[in-house]
């Protein structure tokens, strides 16, 4: 879709129209987040009295964008006559909604903006990154086919909506935890660059970690550049955190990311095992060792390892952050890269979002003709 076609407003489905409005709001939100961050930086720099805002224009735009994506999903449901999670475009729209809801929930649940102007900047950056992520995701959605697809029999289940919604919400929340980890590593990297005190090996390792994750250009590069700009400004003003200040910053980022994890993990757990209850009803097979199921299980186990290391081993800092980031990476593999994995090349039962693959739900085993054809 290009701008000349957007002029033919009446030809665009209602769901796309609302998504377009949400995009514009998100872009506005990014600008507001940048403005808010700048304002908070000004407050911090001048040591002015900081009064945390309540329902700021940025939050207003965030709520409005969330409402627009929700309405877009509602319309998509009407356009396809079922819960809209049958194609990758639809699932990603649910993901956008989850991102917006997650950042709203975390904004209030973590309350980091109340701690001081520095933390308010972090909150602004987080909201800005998420809004930019939503714009990037909807841009990608527009490259995908939007045809209505009928639900195969197995997907016509009451588990369909809660299973997908719980998983996608957890992906969004844990993804935000992953963004916080990226911020943690980025801050460590830039403080090392501007203030020194870190070996080139550890710097190279951090840089490699941030650059070698898949689709680094979407998440880690922008964060690295933005944080670089921020720390350069701090360095210029001689306010670069050091010593106890740096330790406190890292400890607080660690704690905040854990809170994001704590919000996401119950949903990940519920989504994962709801899939098992559903598979049990559809095929009396609560676990079929399908590649998608296994990828999701790996993700869950990574977070279980993170939790045990943190709670029992007392892990904090870079090791815990690296494991948490590994979880986000595993989510990304499960959600977007799963189709490339070797075991997914078989007829996976979860390829329903792949437009080129026939859905396999409900169709298992040989039937009279298939047997003979297979042996042909």
């Amino acid at each position: 879709m290009n701008f000349s076609e957007w002029s033919a407003w009446s030809l665009i489905p209602w769901s796309s129209r609302w998504l377009l409005v949400a995009d514009l709001l998100c872009l506005l939100g990014v600008a507001l987040a940048a403005g808010s961050a700048f304002r908070h930086y000004h407050v911090a720099r001048r040591r002015l009295e900081y009064r945390p805002g309540g329902f700021t224009p940025l939050i207003g735009v965030l709520v409005a964008a969330t409402g627009c994506v929700l309405v877009a999903l509602w319309h998509r449901g009407i356009e396809v006559n079922h819960f809209p999670s049958q194609t990758m475009g639809e699932v990603l729209t649910v993901f956008c909604l989850s991102l917006l809801v997650s950042v709203l929930v975390l904004h209030y649940a973590m309350g980091i903006h109340r701690r001081g102007p520095g933390w308010a900047i972090l909150d602004d950056v987080l909201i800005g990154v998420v809004l930019a992520g939503v714009v990037a995701t909807t841009f990608y959605i527009r490259t995908l086919p939007t045809s209505q697809r009928d639900l195969p029999p197995a997907l016509q289940s009451y588990w369909f909506a809660p299973h997908i919604a719980a998983l996608v919400f957890s992906y969004a929340t844990l993804g935000i935890a992953g963004i916080l980890c990226t911020l943690w590593f980025a801050s460590r990297f830039w403080v090392g660059i501007f203030a020194g005190g870190r070996s080139w090996r550890s710097q190279a390792l951090v840089l490699a970690l941030l650059c070698l994750v898949p689709f680094a250009q979407v998440v880690t590069f922008p964060i690295l550049l933005l944080s670089g700009l921020f720390f350069w400004l701090m360095h210029r003003d001689g306010r670069l955190p050091a010593g106890d200040g740096l330790m406190r910053l890292e400890r607080d980022l660690d704690e905040v990311s854990f809170r994001a994890f704590a919000v996401g993990i119950p949903f990940l757990t519920a989504g994962l095992w709801m899939g098992s209850f559903w598979a049990q009803e559809a095929w009396a097979n609560y676990w079929g060792w399908d590649s998608k199921e296994n990828s999701a299980l790996i993700t869950w186990l990574v977070y279980i390892a993170y939790f045990h290391l943190r709670m029992l081993g007392g892990y904090r800092g870079e090791k815990a952050m690296a494991v948490l980031m590994g979880g986000a990476l595993s989510i990304f593999l499960t959600f977007q890269i799963f189709g490339y994995l070797p075991d997914s090349q078989k007829n996976s039962l979860h390829k329903y979002t792949d437009d080129a693959a026939p859905p396999m739900e409900g169709q298992q085993g040989p039937n009279p003709n298939a047997q003979a054809r297979a042996s042909d």
Binding site: M1, S147, E281, L297
Partner: protein
Amino acid sequence: MQTETQRTPGIQAATPGQPPAGERPKATFRWGFGSASLVILLALVLGQILGVMLVGTAKAASAGKLGVGDAFFLAFLLSALWLLWLVRGAVRRFLLEMHVGVSLVVISIAAVASGVLVPQMDGFEDPETRITRQNYEPQYQRFADAEAYFLYHLTHPYGIGIPADPMPDVEKQLEAFGRRFGREEEHNRRKQMKAAFRGMGKQRAIQEFKQRHEGFLRTFFDVATFLHLNRAYKSYWFATLLGLVCASVVTNLFRTRGQKWLTLKKAGFAVTHIGVAMMLVGGGWSKFHEDRGILQLFLHEPPEHEYLQHFNPQKRAAMPFWVRLERFARLDWKQLEVHFADASFSSRPPSYTLWPERVIDLDYADDGRGGLRPRLRLEVLGVWEHARVRESRLSEARGDQLDRSLGRIAVLDTPDLETLVSAFQRGTPLEELEVQRRSTYLVPDYPGSETYYGPLARVGLDWEYRLRAARPDEAAALGARPDLAALFPSEDLLGVLQLRELGRGDVEPRQHPVRLGQTVETEGGYRIEVVEAIANYRTDPQDGKEIRDPRPLREQAPFNPGIRVLIHPPDGGEPERRLVLERVVAEGSVEQSRYAYPDLLLELDWERWSTPGPPRFLLSWGLGLEPRLVAEDGRVLAVAPGSVLPLPGSASPHTAGRGRELFEHAVVDSEIEFLPRQVGPDGFDQSFYSDDVRGLELKVTRDPGTPEERVEVIRMATSTHRQRNVADQWVSPDRSFSLHFFENDRAFPFEWRSVLSIYEADPEGRWHVYSGADGRLLRTLDAELSREFSERYGSRPGRFRGPSGDEDGDGVQDFVAPLRRVHAGTERQREIRVNDYFTYRGYRFFQTNANPAVPTYSGIGVVYDPGIPTVLTGMYLIIAGTVLAFIVKPIAEGRRRRRTVA
């Protein structure tokens, strides 16, 4: 977590646990990740070895051939268990270590990941499946394809270096398509084409990658096979790992006293760990007792108790009772296609799934303000599952009705197919049947509706003639000396092969007429040789093998036609033998991905008129000419409306076709009645299993929102393979477009349902006769006859070969069995659907598959797994525990903290 030992220098041996003075304090061994992982990995190796040996010993024991080696092994096993008991304290301490727990989780991640990164072998669900000499090559090829695909993408991140060919310039066609079917459809077609072109060359590159790294891939496959990585989840090492995880979870659970489990602090931990333990214990229970497979049932057949274990036709297992398919039906998606008379697109028009209130805008025109407006709006007012089409009343159009005319239509009076099907199934001679007739319509203007292939073609009897309505140009040529060669082309054309090479980015199929023995050369270099023609492809439900018809092709009715081709690849590699069936849509089919050359998509349109077959006739009427019938041998026969057509089989009232009415400008007045569903008080919908057609009420608006707006409300009904009617088509008065309402049985259905009935062995060994249609008990055979039956047939039920074979006269052959039908619930309780299974004596039955080509077949999944309730309870507990730990606990603690502060 182990606490650090306090060591205070200077304190003498008086302190218990401290070494005597002068001795160095004994260093306490602390488990690290490395040491813990090493021990766990050793345990896995040991578990794999013990598992293999234990199974060998168990087999020997069951065969009564226990040897000295087995005895030594059992003694060793007992000794090992005794040793473990002796050092149970150390084992417990090991399992309580945080490093051990996390190592177990990390190794579990690696184990599960190994099964994702190494494609699991076909049939790995069956624990007994192994790579053997027989299946090595096909298993390797699938492994190599999957790994090559993965590794190729891994070595080309962000698509860098992946070859891509330019997309052809089809913008004009897409623009025209978009004008008719909307911008969204146009965008979707463009996206699909782009995606297809991105695949151009990539497939070839992946194949080259695979060939280039053949040695590495083979070594990888052999190593994976040796380590059981390609059946990871069914290996003994994986079972050992899960056992260790379970032991660790249970040990850590009991490290805290039971009373503490109920505190806010520990409740989440306890519930989650109990859940994990239950899930693993239930899974272990499943591993030893589970069995699963597929029960292939057919309507009107006697009960069955054998199922194919793990979907393997060569592996059969029996249940302790018998199951019969009482009812089966599928409900397909109701769809609409729109054809515009002045537009011809090589690609298939979109099919619109229908639901009430759906609005479809089509045929866009400039609105005069620089934008576009739809000239046609279709609004679904209602969709009905059940409809009845009263005999469509056709009449010759009057002057003012000419714009509503469907054109020339011949109404034939033909034998009723259902009656003939029943007769064929029972083996009843046609002469004994009561004559039943049905209307058949020949419409020369609609492809597929212009030909009638003799009444018996559909039921597998002799195919007696082919009758086609002559097109206007043909009708004019049917003079005194018709050009027979032009009207009746030679009978060597089998059909048209629709061919697409995905590797070349083909989006539209290329069409090649094919004959037996002919070779088609594709642009991509494939040579496709047609080696066999099959008129009616069938398979034996018992062994899955093809049933070959020895008769010449001419005598076989083309019920399920297809061809076999040999595909020679461009590089001179191994040719692939492929069956191309008319009914199978290759694109997206499961088989397509399993072919040796999956980038070559082949579909077939069987040409019934020009393949070898029974005599052909052309029926001509209207256009100012006398009605006549022209036979292939040149005879021209006069036809009078209402008279019997002089066709083969016309002597029998059961097979004779009668030309009842011949219209030049037919106007149809179909009366369609929409019927309600018949749902019983228990929710059982009996009407689901009826043969009713589906109904549609549609609001057709032309030029919506303009002063020229015209609105028409129409009713339509689908056709079924048993009931063909003209109400599934609707032509606009100005003939600018037509609508086709149909059930799409070429894709996934909306739903399948089966009703099962259960039979148990008769304790007295008596045989009973049951109704073939509904499985009712008709009578019980006396003891002597029962004994005779048992001696002759064992315990296997069979079709009843009594005096009539159909004692209750329901038209279906009865069956006889030494079984008693048991009450296993109401029909609703015995009804299964996807997502809704039925359980009897621990066996779960669920709707697994079906086949539109075999409408009486229903694939019923069978699972016996006593571990399911434990596993599911465990999973529910894990969710509950996580919610307690991460949501309830922080909220409650926060409140408590606030209260304390206050």
